[in-house]
Symmetry: C2
Subunit: 207 residues, 2 copies
């Protein structure tokens, strides 16, 4: 659903913004930096069954849950979208998104490319941003440097990233997250959100 | 024409940006402030037969030309678009726009709503921004305060502004230029330009 803007009775509608892109491109770092910079968005805390990394905090970076807890959330219809990503479940708690939108806040969620495609289908008016490295070499280097996956999983992620580039047409925007240019990435994402709020045909989110 | 973005061979294409809106909304002030703030855009200098206002500078604010000089420019096909606006001719020098785009700069031009409609037809990939006052009362107040028109012309401008609201659908964006919020207006215009450069389907301008 979209509706025509009326300048003299203008009320900005909150947006649903998806930040996606290949494994290793820096989705988590980008979200963390946007939070640090104090942008007034609601950042969705994803539920996941993947093990917590040392620097991560439960309830802040993710909700770290057991596989049976995750199964219960699916059962109860509590997830807007969920998927198995490299063997771990990840899902978006529906209630959290609804409440944030109802309070008038723009909602920003991090999600893999497979999940972004699902959101595009479920919520056509979502704003989909694809984060890209500046080159495939740069992406591979970053994946190797973070040393969170064994070599065989790493190869799988590189192959997947290559495949996912073909799905670019489901996205609205591409932002190049170049090495050491994280603030520029954040500035561009904020600009996209500002611009979307000025569109003549405004997006209206219904969950 | 639009073309799909290729993240790994990404080259930003320059945009053609039209800033339009009713008489009195602050198009000239907005352009002047964008220039002051140092945004790296090429600001088109419009040719006009209207008399110079005391604060304006020839070649900076407008090219002030005689009616016969203007007729010559039309004759030679030198104008991208021209129109009679409240009895005065205004036109966009084509060569200036071509040269700026060729140098890779985003081109920003100020143009009345009638002219914006022409640009939409001639250059479908242009980015059209409609500047709006926060209310009709505010617009009328500003028109009265600037005291550049006699009362009968002023009434005509108010009636025209009301009519022009119906043509909002030719625009991509609406930016509310509220009283004393000029920098916010400029920030939003800059955000729109940044966002447009990140679109998956990039606009490609052919003049």
């Amino acid at each position: 659903m979209s509706r025509r803007i009326e300048p003299y009775n203008h009320q900005e509608k909150p947006l649903l913004v998806v930040i996606s892109g290949p494994s290793g491109v820096g989705k988590d770092m980008t979200i963390a930096r946007l939070q640090q910079l104090g942008y007034p968005f609601h950042f969705v805390v994803t539920a996941t069954t993947r093990p917590k990394r040392p620097t991560e905090v439960n309830g802040v970076d993710y909700f770290f849950v057991s596989t049976s807890e995750f199964a219960e959330m699916i059962e109860q219809g509590e997830l807007l979208e969920y998927a198995v990503v490299y063997g771990d479940y990840k899902g978006i708690p529906k209630a959290q998104v609804r409440e944030a939108l109802a309070s008038g806040k723009d909602v920003v969620m991090r999600i893999d490319v497979q999940g972004a495609a699902t959101i595009r289908r479920l919520v056509p008016e979502a704003v989909l941003i694809y984060l890209s490295a500046e080159s495939e070499d740069a992406l591979v280097r970053r994946l190797r440097e973070r040393k969170t996956e064994p070599e065989d999983q790493l190869k799988m992620r590189i192959a997947t990233a290559r495949q996912e580039l073909r799905r670019l047409e489901i996205f609205d925007y591409v932002v190049i997250n170049a090495e050491d240019r994280l603030d520029e990435t954040c500035r561009k994402i904020a600009a996209i959100i500002t611009a979307e709020k000025c569109r003549v045909d405004q997006r209206e989110i219904n969950l």
